[in-house]
Symmetry: D2
C-alpha cells in the first residue's frame, strides 16, 4: 500500500482482467498492446512525475482522511491550495506528455462525490457519504486511478431518459437486490477506462421525477463482470500498433465505449440511487471540476505546441519571421487565457457544507468556452508555423529505404546545423499534436458540449445586480 511507482502502477493494471475489444477483436493483454500501452504510459506519468524530486511538493500531499501522503489525483480538495494545485499539476503533466494523461476524470468524480453524497445524506438521512468515504480511503491507500463514467449514449437527444423507446439508452438500475443493484446501459468516450482501476459512474444530466432509476452513482472495478470496454478508433491509432511514424514517442490517448451489460454493484459502492433532484448537482459539480482540469491540461498541451512551433521555426530558418512570431504569441495568449481563468476559478473557490472546496463555476466555464474554440485555433497556428509537411511527411520506413532514404534525407534538410532526423521527428510530433482525433476532439466535447458551458455561465451569474447598476446610471427608479 501507499504511493505507487510507475512500475507498480503498470503491474497493478496488468493484474486486472477486463473484457476489452479493439477493431473487432478481443484484447486480453492490455498493458502490452502498443496502442493501449501508450495511453497507460500517459497515466503512468502521473505516478512517475510524483516521484520526481522537483515535483514532490506539488504532486504529493498529506490526506487528512488517511493521514498519509497521497498523490493529488486521489484527493478531493479541502482548501484553496488544493484547488490551485489541480490546475498546476495538470498543466505540468500535459506539458510532459503532450496529450491527455487520463487520470483527471477520476479525481473530478471523487471531488464531486465528496460534496454531493454529503448533501444527499443531509436531506434524506441516507449513508452515501459513508460509502463514499470508504471508497475514497481505498483509492488513497492504494494510489488508484479512477475513470469517470458520465456520458450516456443518449439515443434520441430530443427525449429524456425514461422517454426513450429503448429504455437502456441511459444507464439505469434494472434490479434492486438485498446486496446491491444491477445496472444496464452504456457510457461513451471513456478515455483511459482500461488504464484505470475503478470506474466511477455519475448521471450525465438533470433527471425528472420519472427518471428515478436513472439517477444513480456508484463505483466498480474496471474488470467487473458484465463490463465491456470497446476501444474506439482514432485517427492515428494504426501508427502505434504498427510501431512506426508515431510522433509522440511515449504517449497517446484512447477512448472506449463502455457497455454495462447487466452489471452488479454492491450497496457499499452505491453513492446515489433514485434521488433525482441531485442528478443535476452531480453533473454540474463534475463538469465544473472537469472543465477546471481541462484548463490546466490544455494550457500545458498548448505549451507543447508552442515548443513544437518554435523548434520547427529554428529548424526551418524562419525563427525571425515576424508574422510567425505573432502567431506564436497568439498561441501563448490562448494558453495563458485558459490557465488564468482556471486559476482564478480555483483561487475564488468556496467551502461546501461537506468541507470539500468547490471552484467558481463561472470562471471555470469561461475557461472551457475558450478551450472549445481556441484549441482548434492554436493547432491551426502551429500548423501554419511548422509548414506543410505536417500533412504528408514520408514514412520513417521511406527514410530507411536503401533506394530512396538518402535522397529523402538530403531533401528534407532544413537549416544546415540541424540534423535532418531532428526535423523529421519534430514534424512527426506536430502531426500527432494536430491530427490525433481522440485528444483534439475532447477540446470541443470534453466536459460537456460547448453549449453546456455557455448555458452554465448565464445561469450562474447575478443578472439582477447588473441590471440594477445599469438602471441607476440611467436614472431609472425601479
Amino acid at each position: 500500500m501507499g504511493l505507487k511507482t510507475k512500475e507498480q502502477y503498470i503491474e497493478s493494471i496488468r493484474a486486472l482482467k477486463p473484457t476489452a475489444y479493439m477493431f473487432g477483436e478481443r484484447v486480453t493483454n492490455i498493458v502490452d498492446n502498443p496502442r493501449l500501452r501508450a495511453g497507460i504510459e500517459a497515466t503512468a506519468s502521473t505516478y512517475e512525475m510524483a516521484q520526481m524530486k522537483e515535483n514532490k511538493d506539488l504532486f504529493i500531499t498529506l490526506s487528512p482522511l488517511i493521514n498519509e501522503p497521497v498523490n493529488r489525483f486521489t484527493l478531493p480538495p479541502s482548501g484553496i491550495e488544493d484547488l490551485v494545485a489541480r490546475v498546476k499539476v495538470n498543466r505540468k503533466i500535459a506539458n510532459y506528455v503532450g496529450t491527455c494523461h487520463q487520470r483527471c476524470t477520476g479525481l473530478d468524480c471523487l471531488s464531486t462525490l465528496a460534496i454531493v453524497t454529503y448533501d444527499i445524506d443531509k436531506k434524506y438521512g441516507t449513508h452515501y457519504n459513508k460509502n463514499f468515504i470508504e471508497f475514497l480511503k481505498h483509492m488513497q491507500k492504494n494510489d488508484l486511478t479512477g475513470n469517470a463514467g458520465v456520458t450516456d449514449v443518449k439515443g434520441d437527444r430530443s427525449l429524456g431518459p425514461s422517454e426513450q423507446v429503448d429504455k437502456d439508452m441511459y444507464l439505469h438500475m434494472i434490479e434492486r437486490r438485498d446486496d446491491g443493484i444491477v445496472v444496464r446501459g452504456a457510457k461513451a468516450h471513456q478515455t483511459g477506462s482500461l488504464s484505470s482501476h475503478e470506474i466511477i459512474v455519475l448521471p450525465t444530466r438533470a433527471m425528472s421525477k420519472s427518471d428515478k432509476d436513472y439517477a444513480i452513482s456508484f463505483a466498480i472495478p474496471s474488470d467487473t463482470k458484465g463490463l465491456i470496454h470497446v476501444v474506439g478508433r482514432s485517427s492515428l491509432d494504426m501508427r502505434e500498433l504498427d510501431g512506426c511514424d508515431i510522433g509522440n514517442i511515449y504517449y497517446s490517448k484512447y477512448c472506449p465505449t463502455l457497455i454495462f451489460d447487466d452489471v452488479f454493484v454492491p450497496w457499499e459502492r452505491v453513492f446515489m440511487c433514485g434521488e433525482t433532484e441531485f442528478a443535476s448537482e452531480m453533473v454540474v459539480r463534475f463538469s465544473s471540476f472537469h472543465r477546471q482540469s481541462h484548463g490546466g491540461c490544455k494550457s500545458g498541451k498548448i505549451d507543447c505546441m508552442i515548443g513544437a512551433a518554435l523548434t520547427m521555426m529554428d529548424y526551418n530558418g524562419t525563427a525571425k519571421a515576424s508574422h510567425l512570431k505573432q502567431k506564436v504569441i497568439d498561441m501563448i495568449h490562448r494558453a495563458e487565457t485558459l490557465y488564468g481563468c482556471c486559476l482564478a476559478a480555483s483561487y475564488e473557490g468556496k467551502k461546501e457544507p461537506s468541507g470539500t472546496y468547490f471552484i467558481d463555476t463561472v470562471l471555470a466555464n469561461a475557461s472551457k468556452i475558450h478551450e472549445g474554440k481556441e484549441l482548434a485555433e492554436a493547432i491551426r497556428l502551429m500548423i501554419d508555423a511548422c509548414g506543410g509537411f505536417v500533412a504528408d511527411l514520408p514514412s520513417d520506413r521511406d527514410f530507411q529505404n536503401p533506394e530512396i532514404g538518402e535522397l529523402l534525407k538530403k531533401y528534407l534538410k532544413g537549416v544546415e546545423t540541424i540534423p535532418v532526423e531532428n526535423r523529421i521527428k519534430m514534424y512527426r510530433l506536430a502531426e500527432k499534436l494536430a491530427m490525433e482525433s481522440a485528444d483534439t476532439i475532447s477540446d470541443i466535447h470534453g466536459g460537456g458540449s460547448p453549449e453546456a458551458h455557455r448555458v452554465t455561465i448565464f445561469r450562474e451569474i447575478d443578472v439582477e445586480s447588473k441590471k440594477s447598476a445599469a438602471r441607476r446610471l440611467a436614472g431609472i427608479k425601479k
Copy 2:
C-alpha cells in the same frame, strides 16, 4: 487628515488652482464645470464607496506605513490579498460608475515606485526610496488622488528621445539646481489630471545611455506653476456642458494633455534622475499594474453593458430571443475572461526585494490583450441587443416639446408595462456606454498599445522549457 468623505474630496479639489484650458478657453472653476465635474464625481465615488458599510472591508485597510486605515488607492500591495483587492475594487467601482473612475493610475504609480526606487537605491546608494516613502505618507495621511504622467507625446515614433529634432518631445530635465530640477515636455491622455491632487511622472519607455536626462520620475501637485492641463475633446463632451441627453446621469471621463512648461521639482520629490537602465523597469512595472487595474475595471464596465442589454431586452419585448441571449452570454464570457486572467495574475503575484508585491506579468497582459480586442466586441454586442435607437434617439428636449413630445412618447413606447421614459433613459445610457470616445478608446490604448502587451508576454514566458518538452516527446536529444 485621514480618510476623506466624498464631499471633503471635492472641496480639496476645489482648493487647488491648476492652469486649465478647455475648447480654447481658460477654466478656473474646475469642480463646477459640468464636464469636469462628471469626471470628478467618478473619482469621488472611490471615496464615497469606501464609506459604504458593505464595501468597507474591501476598500479600507490598515497601512503598515502610517499605521492608520487608508483607502486602497493609496496602498502599494504588501501581500497577495492586496493584489487581489485591487482587481475586485476596480470591478466594483466600474460597475457602479459605468466608466473610468480615474484613480487607478495614481495607485499604479505608487506601487511601481515602491518597488523600483528601492532597486535603484540598492544599486546606486541613492535616496529615492526615502523620498518616495515620505511622499507616500503624504498621500496616505491625506487620502489623496494621484495621476500618472507616463505617455510622452513622442514626436517621430521611429526615433528615440534624444534623437528627436525637437528635444522636448519626451519629458526631460533641462536644468539641475541645488534645490531641485526643472523639467520640460508634455504627457498625453492624462485621464483625470484635474481630479487629482498630485501628478506622478514616470518615463514612457526604455531609455538608452544617451537619454540620461529623460530618465526621470517625480511627483508634483496638479496645480504646480508651469503645468498646463488642456482638456481634450471627446465624442459626447458637449452633452454634459449642455446639461441634456447625458446618458450616464452621474459620471463621465475626460483626458487632458499635460504640458510641463519648465516646471520646478524639488529634490525631495524626485524618484529617479538619470539612472537610464531603470526606465524600462519603471514602465514595465507600471504598465503591468495598470493592465491589471484595467482587467478589474473593464469587466465591471461590461457588467454595466450586460445590465443595459438585458434591461433593453426586457423593455423591447425581446428577452426570450435566443440569439440575443447568446449575445449576452458572449458579453459575460468576455467580462469573466478579463476578470479571471487578472485575478490569476494577482493570486500568482510575488514579493519583490522592497517588500512590495508584484503581479504575474504574463497573466496581466493576457487579460489586457483580450480587453484591447474584446471590449469593442462587447460594445457591438450590446448595440445589437439594444436596437438601432442607440444611434439616433431624439433629444430629451424633443420629448419635452409641446408640439411633438407626446407623439414621440407614444411612438417610443416598448413593452406596455414599462414607462416610455425608462426606455428612453436606458437607450441614452447605452449610447453613452457605446459611443463615448475617451473611455472606449482607452480599452485599446490604455496601459500601452495592444502590440506592447503582446511583446510583453512573449518576452516573459519561458520559451526554452516549451521547446525542450517538445523535443523530448519527439525523441530528439539536443
Copy 3:
C-alpha cells in the same frame, strides 16, 4: 427636368417645406442648418460625382423607361451590369464622402417595387405597377432622391402589428377614401429623410391575415402635411452645429424619426394596400437590395479608414511597424470581403417576371453578416494604428488660443516633415470615422438586424442537396 447638378439638387431641397424638429426646436431652413447640410452635401455628392468626367460612364445610364440618361440612383436594375454598377457606385461614393451618402435606400425601394408591384398585380389584377411606373418616371425625369420608410417603431417586439396595445406601433391605414388612404404610425432611423424629395414606404416585416391594414406601400413628398421629421441625436452632432472640430470637413449623416400623423396618400401613389402575403416579399427584396448597397458603401468607407490609418502611420513615424502593417492588411481584407460577396451577389443576379433583375440573396446576406461584425473591427484596427489621440485631441480652438496654441502645436508634432496641422486634421477625421454613432451603428442594424441576415441565408440555401451529398459519400441509401 433631366439630370440635376449638385446646386440644382440643393435648391430643389430648399424649395421643400417639411415639418422638422431638432433638439426640441422647429427647424425651418433645412439646407442652411449646418448639421443637416452636412448630410445634404453627402447626398449632393451623388449628383456631383455623376457630373465628373471620370464617373459618367459608371453613374449615368440610359433609362429604357423614359429613354433619357438618368442617374443610377433612379434606375431599378434591368440587367446584371446594373446590379454590378450599384455596388461600384456605392463604393466609389463612400470612399469620396467617408460616410453614408443616404441616397441608396430610395433606389432599393424603387428596385423592390419594380418587382413586387408586378407580382401583386399578376395575382390580384390590381394596378400597383402602373402607379409605380408613373412614380418612377417622375423620379427619373426630375432626378429625385427617395428615402425608404421601412423600420416601424414596433412597440413590444414579442407581439405582431395588430396585437399591440397601441395599434399605431406599425404604420397602418386608418381610413380608406375615394381619393386615397389616410395612414398613421412612425418609422425610425430615416437616414436622410430631409435630404430627400420623396418618402417611399414599405412594410417592415411579414404580415399575417389579421394585419391587413398594415400591409401598405406608397410614396409621398417629404413635406407632405402631417409628416413630422424629428432629427435624432448622434454622438458628434454638436460639432457641426458649433462649426468646430468637425473631422470630416464636408459630410455627415443624420437620422430622423418620421411620424405619420394622419397623412393622406392619393391612390395613384399607393403600391400595396392589404395584400398581406406580399409584405414579406417586399421586405425580403428591399433588405437584400439594401444589404447589397451596404457591401459597396461600407467597403468604400473602410477604404477611407485604411487611408486614414496609413496616413497617420506616415505622420507618426510608424509606417514601417510590421504589426501595424498587419492590421492594415486586416482592414483591407475586410473591405474586400464585403465587396467581393456583394459583387458576386450582383453577378449571380436573376431576371424577375417584371423584367427587373434581383441579386443572389445568400451572397448579399453573407456580405452583410460580415459588415455587422467586421466594421466594428475595422474601426478598432484604425484606432490602434492611429494612436490614442483619436480619443482626446485638444480642440482647434485650443490650437488657436494665443496662450497655449503654440505649445500645443509644438507638442502635437509627429514626423518632422509633416506640418502639425495635417496631423491634427487627420486625427480629427479618424475620430469622426470611429466615433460618429449614426453611421457606425448602421453597420450593425442597417438593413435589418444581424440575426435577420443569418436567418435569411439559412432559409435560402438548398439544405437537401447538401445532405444528400453527404449521405452518398457515407454510403447511405436514403
Copy 4:
C-alpha cells in the same frame, strides 16, 4: 483521342509506369493500390461528372485552340465565363467527392503558362509560348491531367536558392544540352502526382539574378526516368489500405514528395529557362489561380460538412436545437464567403496580352485568407454539431463481431426511425472530413502560406488613392 470516360482515364493512368514508393516500399501497380486508387477516383470524378447530362454545359466547352470540345480542366480561360466556370466546376466536384479532386493544379499551371510564356517571348524573342501551345494541344486532345510541381523543399528558409549550402534545395538546371536540359531537386506536397499524366513545373518564388539556373519551367510525363514519387503519410491512410472504417467510401487524397533525380527535359517541353525576372510573375499568377480554385473547391467541401452536420442532427434528435442551427449558419456563411470572393475575383477578371484572362488578385487572395482561417473553424463547428463520436467511434469490425456487435448497434442508435448503420456511417464520414490531414492542412498551406496571401493583397491594392481620399476629407492639401 478526345474526351475520356472515367474508365478510359483510369486505364490511361494504369498504362504509366512511374517510380513510386509508399511506407518504405516500391509500389508498381498504382491504380489498384487502395490508398492511391481513392485519390485516382477523386480525379476520375472530373471525367465522370463531365459526362453527366446535367453537368455537360458547365464542364465541357469548345477549345478555340483545337476546335474540339474539351474538359474545362485543360482550358486556360479565354473569357470571363471561363473564369467563373472554374469556380463553379470546383464547387460542384468538391461537393460530389468531399475532398480534393486533385486536377485543379494542372489547369492552374496551364492558365499561368498561357500568360507568362507569351510575356517572356515578347521581351526576349524566345519560343516558350510555341512550346507551351503544342503541349497544351497535347493535353486537350488527349484530355490529360496535369500536376503542378511548384513547392520546392527549400532547405533553410532564410536563404535564397543559390545561397543554400546544398544547391539542390530548389529545383534547378544542372546541365544544358543540345536536345534539352537536365534538372535536379525536389518538389513537396505533390497532391495527386500519380493520378496525373504530366508534371508541370514552375518556380516556387521570385528569383534574383544569381538564381538563373533555378528560374525554370517545363512539363514531363509523370513516369519520366529519374522522377521518384514518395507518397507521404497522412492521418487516415491505413484505413484505405486496410479496407475498413474508411468514412468517405469513394474518395481520398494523397500527397507525394517528388524527387527529380537528374531528369532530362527536351527543349520542346521547356517553358522558361533563366529569365529570372519572370519567376515572380509565374508564381504570382499560379498562386492566384490556385487560390481561386480553392475558393470554389473548399466551399463545396464545406457544403459536404454542412450536409454531414445537418444529417447527424437529424439522426441525433438535435435538429431543432437553436444553438446548433446557429452553428450551421456559421458554416454556411463561411462557404458563401469563400465562394463569393472567388466568384467576384472571376467576374472582375481582365484580359492579358496573350488573350488569356486573369482574375482579380486581391479578391482571390481575400478568399484564400478566409480559407486559411475559416476551414478549421468550419470543421470545429461540424464536430460540435455532430457530437463526440467523431473522435472515437468503434470500428466497423466491432459492429460485425458476434459477441459485441449487437450490443454496439443497440447503444449507438440515435433517433428511432433511423437505422443505426446510417448513423455510424455518417459519423465515419464526419471523422474523415474533420481529421484527414492531407486535405485539412491544404486549407492552410495550399496555394502558398497564409502570410503570402496577406502580403499579396497589400501589394496589389492602390494605397495612394485611399490615402488621398482620407486627406481630402480631413482638409489636408498635400
